[in-house]
Subunit: 308 residues, 2 copies
């Protein structure tokens, strides 16, 4: 039986070798850059070779939501750049800039496994040099929903995203539909300012129990984590109403609000029904309509939505 | 003598032929495009061939000031694009949008003679489609000088220039130093937003009698044209003071103001001394300082400046 074992071993070894080799082939060399010029140079070299570039801008602490964006970018482009930058300009003075979760090592592993070519991870000083004073903003789209309680948020988002677009010059950029207003704002900005990048919105990724994936879920205590299910549960009720033919925005909002109010740990920031393109309130479901909510669970503000 | 004349003629003919041939070689096919996509496609084809692109954004009614920008672009780049677009977004409600002079045929001839490859001449609807609401602006640089009486002007300039940069993707863009504040604003915007275009400022071009070239000079009556010389004359006095060692901004402003006030048809909008990079007022000439004036001659508002 010795020979037999020996053969088994050698086959195993052979398979191992093949697997390792394949892994090596798949496991390309991902680079992490902190300097704008490094990214620019790398992308210019790719473009000279005619390669297409997909881009996923993030604030890091990556989860499966981000991974779904990276996977889409990986499928549709020759090269993939992910930026990891907790952008000070989009946080209000009383918001969670300092406590926002960060874990570059874990993020880097997720990106490498997902086939990312470059992580751009700049320091704030690299992005906002001395004397910085420019911004991008819009009249409309940014005043409703999250814009009500986060008045400078979207200015910061637009500015940093346009800066990143100028650095990465992507053919396609990927944004999660969880931040639905952000997606609408970026689409509008790109159209208005003639940015030559296709904006691709990707579906919300949820935990098994329905909670939308978010880096901020990490703030939740065990009780709050349970209470947070009220967001997806209430939206499910709203969605069912729409599917049953309900057209009245008020009826849908009332049903969602009633469900959220049953949860003692929840405090509503907004429950709104808006046109998905213009982010202006509508009375009736018509065309592409966004039903969006923001709810404080304890001190943590969570958002969720569906498209009707 | 007949043969001699004949020889002379043939030499002349020969020279003529050479000249015509050279002219033909120089006289390439200039294209005038009205659609964003046409410009994008042409520039992309150039870039694939590794050609560099110089860009001169204008509002048309071109004069030798513009030509000096085009000439610089022609010298330093493989291809040259000139945009001719009277941008509604940078005019205030009481300003001269409707009466701003326009002459596309004359402009096209000047551009063709100067070796321009593409004129981009869009309609306002092409640049500002339905639902347009985005803008680029900055905190600082835009509040002093022309910003005081033209509060929305620089927002309009920044927005249209960034749009044009996204369409033309120039390696270098050329701006006249006559619009010194505009030049400073565009330089700041490009730096802040990481636009991959080099901004090149070019010297003021003047009429023989000293008046800075401007499309708006066409508004002046004969008397006003004469009175308008007070701008360059007063700045010359200011410049002489600086050259003689005067450091006090107040002394320089006072001397310029006194000279302008001698001219009955002139009414001062501003006489200011500012840091050329930050466009903030300074008390002393130090570093690169901008001495800038805006003066109404009758109803026509003219600007001029020098760098101290």
């Amino acid at each position: 039986m010795t020979s037999c074992i020996s053969i088994e071993n050698s086959i195993e070894e052979y398979l191992q070798k093949i697997a390792t080799k394949n892994k090596r082939i798949r496991r390309h060399k991902m680079l992490i850059y902190g300097q704008i010029e490094q990214v620019r140079e790398a992308v210019k070299a790719w473009k000279k070779e005619g390669k297409s570039v997909g881009f996923v801008p993030t604030m890091g602490y990556l989860h499966e939501g981000h991974k779904s964006l990276i996977d889409a970018a990986r499928r549709e482009n020759d090269k993939v750049v992910v930026s990891i930058f907790v952008n000070p300009m989009q946080f209000g003075p009383a918001e969670d800039l300092d406590s926002y979760p960060r874990d570059l090592n874990r993020d880097a592993k997720l990106c490498e496994d997902a086939g990312v070519d470059i992580i751009f991870h700049p320091e704030p000083e690299e992005m906002y040099a001395d004397g910085f004073c420019s911004y991008v903003d819009m009249n409309g789209l940014t005043t409703e929903l999250c814009g009500k309680t986060r008045p400078i948020h979207f200015r910061g988002v637009q500015t940093v995203v346009l800066k990143l677009f100028h650095i990465v010059t992507p053919d396609r950029a990927y944004f999660g539909q969880k931040d639905a207003q952000q997606l609408a704002v970026i689409k509008r900005m790109v159209k208005d300012l003639n940015v030559d990048t296709e904006i691709i919105g990707c579906p919300i990724i949820r935990e098994e129990d329905g909670l939308a994936k978010s880096s901020r879920n990490t703030y939740l205590s065990e009780d709050e984590r349970q209470a947070a299910l009220v967001l997806s549960r209430s939206l499910k009720i709203g969605k069912q109403l729409v599917e049953d033919g309900e057209k009245s925005a008020k009826a849908i909002k009332d049903a969602i609000t009633a469900e959220i109010n049953k949860e003692p740990l929840a405090r509503i920031d907004y429950v709104d029904v808006v046109d998905f393109e213009t982010i202006t309130p509508v009375d009736e479901i018509k065309g592409t309509t966004l039903v969006a909510i923001a709810v404080y669970i304890g001190k943590t503000r969570l958002i969720d939505n569906f498209i009707a």
